[in-house]
C-alpha cells in the first residue's frame, strides 16, 4: 500500500481519533485575519440594515414633500398662465383704445385743412409718441406681471424687440402707414411663451453619509491567545556553556515570536568547521547499525541517517547534521521540556515529554556534526550510553 493511501485515511479517521489529534495538534492559523474579515462583514450588514430602516422612515416624509412641491408648481403654473393671458387681454384692450384715440378725427370746422400728406405726417409723429408710450406701458405691465411669478419663466418683451419694428415703421411711414400699424400691432402682442419645463427638479436632501472610520489594523493580540491556550510548556531557556575552546558550542532554545508557534532549537558554534574529519560512522560498542544512508546529498542541508539497534532489539533513530544547518522545533502547546547537561564533558540537550510511551530527542556535538537521536524516554539511559561511547573527540 502506498504512503499516500495510508495517510489519506488519516483525514477520514473516526471521530474519537480526530478529537485526539485536534487536541494534541491544535490547528494554527491566522485567527486575526479571519476575525477582521468577519467583523467587516458584520459592520457592512449592520449598516445596510440601518440604512433600510432610515430609508423607510424618510420615504413617507419625502413623498409628502414631493406632493407639496408638485402642488405648488401646479399652482404657480396656473397663476402664471392666467397672468399672461390677462396681460395679453389688457394689452389688446389698450391697443384697441389707442387705436380709437389715434384714429384721424374729421374736423368739420371751416378752418380745417384736408391735407392728407400733412395729416399722415402728423399721424406718424403722434403715432410714434403714442406707440412709444404704450410700449413703455406695456413693458412695465409685463414686467410687473412677470415679477409676480416665481415659476414658470418670465415673459418680458424686451425693448429691442419693440424698437426695431418702430424703426421699420418709421421708414415706411410715408408709403405704408397701414403696414406700419400692422407691424406695431404685431409687436404689441406678447411673444409666445417659451415651452415650460415639465420636470420638477426636486432637490433631494443630502443626507450626511456617515462613513465608519477605517478599521485600524491592530497588531495581533497575542496576549489573548495565551489566555485561551493553556501554557503547559515551560521550556528551559538557553544553555550557555562558556566556549572555553573553539571546538565547543552550545544549544540555544529560542522562544517563538507569537504564542502558539514553535520553539526553535539551534546550535551556536563560532567555528562551523568540523574539529576533525572522520568518516561517517556510528559504531558504538553494544549497538548495531542496521541502516545507514545519506539524506539529501545534493543539498547543503544533507545529513546522515542511522538506525541503531541495541542488545534488546530496541531501535534508535539518529541523524547527523552539519552545524550550520541544524535546527529543531517543537510545539509550544504540547507538554515538551528541555534539559541541558553534559555527557563526557560535551554539551547535550534533551527534549522530552513526560508520561508513559512518550518520546524524547537527545542532541549533542560529536565534533563533526550535531547529532539528534530519537527514541522513547524510558530508554534514555541507553541513549546516553550510546552518546558517551560514540563521542570521538
Amino acid at each position: 500500500m502506498s504512503d499516500n493511501r495510508i495517510l489519506k485515511s488519516l483525514h477520514r479517521t473516526d471521530e474519537s481519533t480526530a478529537n485526539a489529534i485536534m487536541q494534541q495538534y491544535p490547528a494554527q492559523w491566522d485567527m486575526d485575519k479571519i476575525f477582521q474579515k468577519t467583523y467587516q462583514k458584520y459592520l457592512a450588514q449592520t449598516k445596510e440594515k440601518t440604512q433600510e430602516e432610515v430609508f423607510l422612515e424618510n420615504e413617507c416624509e419625502e413623498a409628502l414633500k414631493c406632493r407639496k412641491e408638485i402642488s405648488m408648481a401646479h399652482r404657480f403654473r396656473r397663476v402664471g398662465s392666467f397672468a399672461c393671458c390677462a396681460a395679453a387681454y389688457i394689452g389688446i384692450f389698450l391697443f384697441v383704445l389707442q387705436m380709437d384715440d389715434t384714429a384721424p378725427h374729421t374736423d368739420h370746422s371751416p378752418n380745417a385743412t384736408n391735407n392728407s400728406d400733412f395729416n399722415i405726417l402728423e399721424v406718424d409723429s403722434t403715432e410714434k409718441a403714442t406707440t412709444a408710450a404704450s410700449d413703455e406701458q406695456h413693458k412695465t405691465e409685463t414686467q410687473m406681471t412677470s415679477t409676480e411669478q416665481t415659476d414658470p419663466p418670465e415673459t418680458t418683451i424686451t425693448s429691442e424687440a419693440v424698437t426695431t419694428p418702430l424703426e421699420s415703421s418709421t421708414e415706411q411711414s410715408e408709403q405704408d402707414a397701414p403696414n406700419a400699424i400692422e407691424t406695431t400691432e404685431t409687436t404689441m402682442l406678447p411673444e409666445p411663451l417659451p415651452p415650460e419645463s415639465t420636470e420638477m427638479e426636486l432637490t433631494e436632501p443630502t443626507e450626511p453619509v456617515t462613513v465608519p472610520p477605517p478599521m485600524e489594523s491592530e497588531p495581533s493580540d497575542t496576549t489573548s491567545f495565551t489566555e485561551t491556550i493553556p501554557t503547559e510548556t515551560e521550556a528551559t531557556t538557553t544553555t550557555e556553556a562558556p566556549p572555553t575552546e573553539q571546538a565547543f558550542g552550545y544549544f540555544e532554545v529560542n522562544e517563538p515570536a507569537n504564542p502558539g508557534e514553535f520553539y526553535q532549537i539551534t546550535y551556536v558554534r563560532e567555528n562551523t568547521e568540523p574539529v576533525e574529519e572522520h568518516e561517517h560512522s556510528f559504531a558504538a560498542e553494544g549497538f548495531t547499525v542496521t541502516e545507514m544512508r545519506e539524506l539529501n546529498p545534493d543539498f547543503d542541508f544533507r545529513s546522515m541517517y542511522y538506525t541503531i539497534e541495541d542488545e534488546n532489539g530496541q531501535h534508535y533513530a539518529v541523524e547527523q547534521m552539519r552545524y550550520a544547518y541544524f535546527g529543531r522545533g517543537f510545539n509550544s502547546t504540547l507538554n515538551y521540556q528541555t534539559r541541558a547537561y553534559e555527557i563526557g564533558g560535551k554539551p547535550v540537550l534533551l527534549l522530552y515529554r513526560e508520561g508513559e510511551g512518550s518520546v524524547c530527542t537527545l542532541m549533542w556535538d560529536d565534533g563533526c556534526h550535531v547529532c539528534a537521536m530519537t527514541s522513547q524516554l524510558k530508554d534514555l539511559d541507553k541513549m546516553e550510553l550510546l552518546v558517551q561511547s560514540q563521542i570521538t573527540y
Partner: protein, 190 residues
C-alpha cells in the same frame, strides 16, 4: 470570561468584545466544523464556515439569552457545518433524519469499521513516535490539508525542508508500521 463579562465588554467596546468572544470560542467552533468538513472540504472551506458562524453570532448577539451563549454557538456551528457539508457534497436538501441514516453504518461493514478505527489509532500513535517536527508536519499535511508553504511558515522552516522532512518521515513511518503487524503490513511489501 463569563457571558456577563463578555456582554459588558461588548457594551463598552463592540470590537474588543467580539474579538474576545471570537478568541474564546474559535477552537470550539473549529472542532465542530472540522469534524464535519474534513472529509469533503479544505482548510479554506473551514475558515469560511467559521467566519459565517461568528457573523451570525455577532448579528444576533443581543438576542442570545444570558448563560446560553456556548449552546447557541455550538448549535449555529453544527448547522453551518451541515450546510457546507451539503454544499460541498452537492447534496439536495435532505432532512436531518435522512442525513443521520447516511451516517449509520450497515451491519456488513462493522468489522471493517472497527479494524479501520484500530488502524487509525495505531497510525496516530506511530506518527507521535516520529518526534517533532516530523509528526507536526504529517498532521498538518494529511489531517489539516495545509500546503507546504503554510507548514513552512508555521514551523519556521523552508518549503523545501518541509518536503524533504515529509518524505523522510513517511519512510520512517512505513518502517515503524511494517515492524508492527498491522493491516498495512500483512501481505504488503514495504
Amino acid at each position: 470570561m463569563t457571558d456577563r463579562e463578555l456582554r459588558e465588554l461588548v457594551s463598552a467596546s463592540q470590537e474588543d468584545g467580539f474579538k474576545t468572544l471570537f478568541q474564546q470560542y474559535q477552537s470550539y467552533v473549529y472542532t465542530i466544523i472540522w469534524n464535519k468538513l474534513r472529509m469533503v472540504g479544505t482548510a479554506e472551506d473551514a475558515e469560511e464556515c467559521i467566519s459565517d458562524v461568528f457573523l451570525q453570532v455577532f448579528l444576533h448577539f443581543d438576542e442570545i439569552k444570558e448563560g446560553s451563549l456556548q449552546a447557541y454557538i455550538g448549535t449555529v456551528a453544527k448547522h453551518k457545518a451541515i450546510d457546507y457539508f451539503r454544499k460541498l457534497n452537492n447534496l439536495s436538501e435532505t432532512s436531518d433524519d435522512q442525513e443521520e441514516l447516511l451516517n449509520i453504518p450497515s451491519d456488513e461493514n462493522i468489522e471493517h469499521d472497527v479494524e479501520a478505527s484500530l488502524a487509525n489509532k495505531l497510525l496516530y500513535e506511530k506518527i507521535g513516535q516520529l518526534g517533532e517536527p516530523d509528526s507536526s508536519i504529517l498532521i498538518l499535511k494529511y489531517f489539516y490539508h495545509r500546503k507546504s508553504k503554510d507548514i513552512a511558515k508555521q514551523l519556521q522552516l523552508t518549503p523545501i525542508a518541509v518536503r524533504v522532512r515529509l518524505n523522510r518521515a513517511l519512510k520512517k513511518l512505513r518502517r515503524l508500521l511494517t515492524n508492527e503487524e498491522t493491516i498495512w503490513g500483512r501481505g504488503d511489501t514495504p
